[in-house]
Symmetry: C2
Subunit: 238 residues, 2 copies
DNA sequence: CTAATAGTGTCTATTAGACATTATTGT
DNA sequence: ACAATAATGTCTAATAGACACTATTAG
């Protein structure tokens, strides 16, 4: 039996054929009544010219961890560090990438539309695309399915948490927040029920300011710490 | 701009240093009042002689997909194909394995104790270990943390689903099922509340048989199709 | 009989849905 | 005043917790 030290010295990482490891991110926001996902027009083969998710190969020198890699690619495309990031799932198979056995670790983040948009407006290969429009587009790899899984996850969270709040700007009205939840679950939510939950959570701070579109001005709120972890024991109807 | 075909012909998968990709599995069961996890005594460096999770490097020729790899290693260690498998999370960082940048895709499965135990009793490097005992053991890599994440996931599911039923044999009593849920959430559950949910779901088939420990014999039930997907809109208290 | 466990009856408390009512703004 | 949207009042329905009660077995 060799010592661990000797074992590691003799260990050859090239003994096994390499698996392609990419980290892809599903970035979502809410703007003017629509949920939108950030897509990038691919400048390389395969799927050259197709829209796909931001992300790319793991960079073993730059990235200390998978989440590092996700945050790095998010900041590269949007110029901001989102306040909500979670790992969604990992897809890996022999045939999802023509270059070989490929594993994609999928992260997702929610962010305010405005904050990210000033950065992406400066380039023409990055765009927010309405989820409703995705059917018309043919996306690279299995990215359409990856987006679907992320959205389904948020749909569930809209029923028992306030996680969707991270798709809004820092200050927002309760109606706007309700609209994000409604867009996710694709159903109207009773205003009274929703407001009761906002109050019961105790996690929203009234800024004292108001915002008006049409009709009575609405109070502007901010999310406080802990909102990402808060859970209701009873779901909204789905 | 080269054609996609030319690009793929010139593509060299060895241009990037290989990332180590492993698939590890957290196999859980319930037996005699305890939740147990299947551990394997490692026969190789690193962590030679430590207990760790079943799993190993992705085999690019044998495995068509990540889930394939998980199922293959589960069957290798237990001799059975579990009825419930889900992907838990993926951990990856520069320093979790001394051999290099390593990614571990973690799957988890629930299975009946008896079905798997006849197979593992024939070897001495595989064992069911009570979750309560894990604190005394020092596990390989970050496997203790991976188990913790899987158990926490099932703890949540115990509050709004019947997924824990897959840790029991084909026929079981409602008390046994309740005990699995109680072991997961570490709290007693009202028998009446639990039975109400069993009835409301309509997903349990009374076998007509009974089973007796002490006291009144209990009816034996079987799970029917769809139980893995069933969700309550209201959680048990956590 | 008692002990033990399975299973039921029934009351209370909580909370989401429904929907009517009031409040506050612009035109 | 009217339209539009925000915010509240209040009733009902659904369902989990609490816990007492009955049922069925072994010894």
């Amino acid at each position: 039996m060799t010592s661990e030290q000797a074992f590691l010295q003799n260990y050859d990482p090239k003994a096994f054929p390499a698996v392609l490891v990419t980290v892809d991110t599903v970035l979502l926001t809410y703007h003017e009544g629509d949920l939108k996902v950030l897509l990038v027009k691919r400048g390389n083969h395969p799927y050259l010219g197709y829209w796909g998710l931001p992300g790319g190969f793991l960079n073993q020198s730059l990235d200390l961890s998978l989440e590092d890699a996700a945050r790095r690619s998010i900041e590269a495309k949007t110029g901001i560090q989102p306040h909500y990031v979670e790992q969604i799932q990992t897809q890996g198979s022999q045939d999802r990438d023509p270059r070989g056995w490929s594993v994609s670790v999928v992260y997702s983040a929610l962010m305010p539309y405005q904050a990210a948009t000033q950065h992406i407006d400066t380039v023409d290969n990055v765009a927010w695309v309405r989820l409703a429009e995705l059917g018309e587009l043919s996306l690279a790899f299995d990215h359409a399915a990856l987006i679907e899984v992320a959205v389904e996850r948020y749909r569930q969270k809209a029923l028992y948490s306030f996680v969707p709040v991270f798709a809004l700007p820092k200050a927002f009205t309760i109606s706007q927040l309700r609209q994000v939840h409604e867009a996710l679950i694709d159903k109207p939510i009773q205003r009274k029920s929703f407001l009761r939950r906002v109050e019961a959570s105790g996690l929203f701070k009234d800024t004292g300011k108001t915002q008006q579109e049409r009709g009575r001005p609405a109070s502007l709120f901010e999310a406080t710490k802990g909102i990402a972890e808060y859970r209701f024991t009873r779901n909204l109807e789905s």
